[in-house]
Symmetry: C2
Subunit: 347 residues, 2 copies
Amino acid sequence: MTRVAGRGGSPSAPRSADVAQLAGVSRKTVSRVLNNEPYVSDDVRRRVIEAAEKLGYRLNNAARALASGRTRSIGVVALGTAGYGTASLLVAIEKAVRDSGYALRVVNTLDGEPDDIARAVDSLLDQGVDGIIVSEPVIEGEVSVRVDVPVLFLGAPPAFGGPRAVTASVGADLLARAATDHLLDLGHQTVHHLAGPLRWYAARDRVEGWRAALAARGRHQPPLVEGDWSADSGYQAGRKLAADPEVTAVFVSGDDMAIGLIHALTEAGRRVPHDVSVIGFDGNPVFAHVTPPLTTVRQPFDAAAREGLRLLVHAIEKPDTHMPPASDPPVELVVRASTAPPPSSPS
Amino acid sequence: MTRVAGRGGSPSAPRSADVAQLAGVSRKTVSRVLNNEPYVSDDVRRRVIEAAEKLGYRLNNAARALASGRTRSIGVVALGTAGYGTASLLVAIEKAVRDSGYALRVVNTLDGEPDDIARAVDSLLDQGVDGIIVSEPVIEGEVSVRVDVPVLFLGAPPAFGGPRAVTASVGADLLARAATDHLLDLGHQTVHHLAGPLRWYAARDRVEGWRAALAARGRHQPPLVEGDWSADSGYQAGRKLAADPEVTAVFVSGDDMAIGLIHALTEAGRRVPHDVSVIGFDGNPVFAHVTPPLTTVRQPFDAAAREGLRLLVHAIEKPDTHMPPASDPPVELVVRASTAPPPSSPS
DNA sequence: CTGAAAGCGCTAACAC
DNA sequence: GTGTTAGCGCTTTCAG
C-alpha cells in the first residue's frame, strides 16, 4: 500500500499486484481477466474488473511485451508525401490495424528507395514490432535487412521480400484496365498513358492494366510517358503530348498528374474533353469541382488495407496454418466530365 | 552459448550478455556504450560496438522500457481525413519525432470530437508513450482523461489541457491576416470569409486573423460562412455568396473549399478573379494547375511541428526547467491568379 | 572508468 | 477454476 514511485515511471502507478490484492485473487488471475482468457469464473472476472477500474489500473505494455515476446504493435513504412493517395492509404491502414487490436508505429521514407525502406524497416525492428507493412514498395534493388517478423507488401508481387512475406493487391491493374476500357468504350482508337515513376510497383501495375486493356482489343500501344506523381510533372508531360495530334485520350496514373496534364493541354489549345479525354487515378473528391470535373477511378484503400491486414495478422498469430489469398478489391469508376467520345467520332 | 529460443521471441536473438561476453566486458558496460553514456574508454567502446555488430545485436526495447520507465516513443492523435493539410502535418510530425530520437505511434480520430480524442489519448496511454501530440484539437468540451505525460496541443491556446500541457502555434492567425491583407491591398473594400467548422481551433484562429486584418483598417466585417473543409461544402457556400453582389473578395479557410467555392461562383456567372477574388489556405501545389491557379497561403507545417516537438521533448526530458515559448512560424503568401483588384477598381 | 546485484511488471509453465 | 514459481533482458544503484 505504501509504495513509493517506481524507479522511472510516474509516481505509484498501480500494478497488477495492487489489483490482485483489492480483488482478493492472485496476480495471474488478474492477468487472465485482462487478457480475456477462459477459465475464470464470472464472479472473479467482475471483481477484478471493478478493482482495476477503481484503481485506474493500466496494464504496463513494456512488461507485457517483455514477458510475452509480443509487442502487439505493427509498424508501417509509409511514403512521406502528403498526396491524397498515400495519405488515404495510411488512414485506411491505421484503421485496419486498430481494428485488429494492434497499435500502429509509423516511419516515413522520403521517396521509397530500397535503402530508405531498409532503414525504415530496421528502425521498426529496433522498436520491436510483431509485423511490418510496406505500403508503397518500389521495384528496384533489394531491401537488405534480415527480418524475422511477417512483412506485408501492399501491391507488390509475391516474389518480392524474404521469408514470411505476404502480399495483398490494391487492384491497381484492374482499376487501370477499367480506366482504359472506359476510354476505349467511348470510341477512342487508342489510349495514351502517363505513368508514375516506373520504379514503383504501383506505377507498373497500372501500366500492366493499361497494356492489357489495349491488347485485349488489339489496339496500338503508344509509347508511355513517365511522370513523378506531381501535378508539375503532369504539366510537363502534357506539353509534349499536346503537340501530338494523334493523342485523343490519356489515362493518367494519378489525379494530381492528370490536373497538370489538363492544364498543359488546355494551354496548348487542346480542349478537354472535346479534343482530348483525360482520366485520372485515385478518386480525390476535390476534383469534382475543377474545370472540367475529372473522371477518375477510385482506389479501394479501405478494402485493400483490411484485406492485407487480415493476411498479416494471420501470419503473425498462426504462422503455420494456411490462409486463402485475398480476393481482388472492387473497381469503382467515377465518370465526370473530362472524358468524352473522340473529336471525329460520329457521336 | 547453447541458448534455446526465448519463450516468445525469435529463436536465440542475441542478448546484451552475449555481446558483453564477446567483448570481454560486463553487461552494464554494453549498456553504457549503447546508450552513449560517458565514462567508457574508446577502446572498450569500439570493442563493444564491434561485438554487437558481429552478433547482429538489437537492443530489446520492451526490456529497456520496463527497466527505465521510458518508452522513447511519442503518440500522436491525428485526424483520419486524408486532406492535404492534415496529411502534411502528420508527415511533418513524423519527421520531427524521428529527428528527436523518438518512435511515433499514431491513432486517428474520425472527426476530432472531444470524446474521440479522449479515446485516442487513452489508447496511447495504454500503449505507453512518453508524450502525446494532439494535432488538430477541437474547441468544444473537455478531454476527460487523466494524463500523466506531457501533451502538446498544436494550434490550441494554453488554456486547453491539463497539467504538463504545452502548446505551439501553427501561425494560423498570422496566415489568415496575411491572406486578408493581400485582398485588401488589392483594393477590395472588404473581404468575406468562408471558415472551417468553428468547433476547430484551426478554424477559429483563422477567423481571428481575418477579423484582425479587417479591424486594423476599420473595414466592415461581413457575416462569416461556415463550411466543413470539403470542396462540396465550399461549393454550397459559393452558391450563397454568388447571389450577393457585394461580394468581391473571399478568404477561404482551406484550398479544397476554395476550389468548391470557385466552382459555384463560376457556375453562377461570376468570374474569378475578374468579378470575385478568392484566396485559399494550405498551399497544396496541385492547385497551381487549375483554372484559375489558386492564390493561397502556405502553412508552415515543418516549422510548426519542429517547434512543437522541441517544446514537448523538453517537457519530457527536463520537466522542471523553463523553456522559452515558440516563436511564430513564417508566413508565406503564394500569389497565383485567383486574386485581382475589384471589378470597379481603377486599376 | 568499470562491475555486481537487484528488480522493473508482467506472463508462461506447471501444480493444485 | 485458480495459485505458485520463475524468468523475459534491460537499467539502476552503489561499490569499487
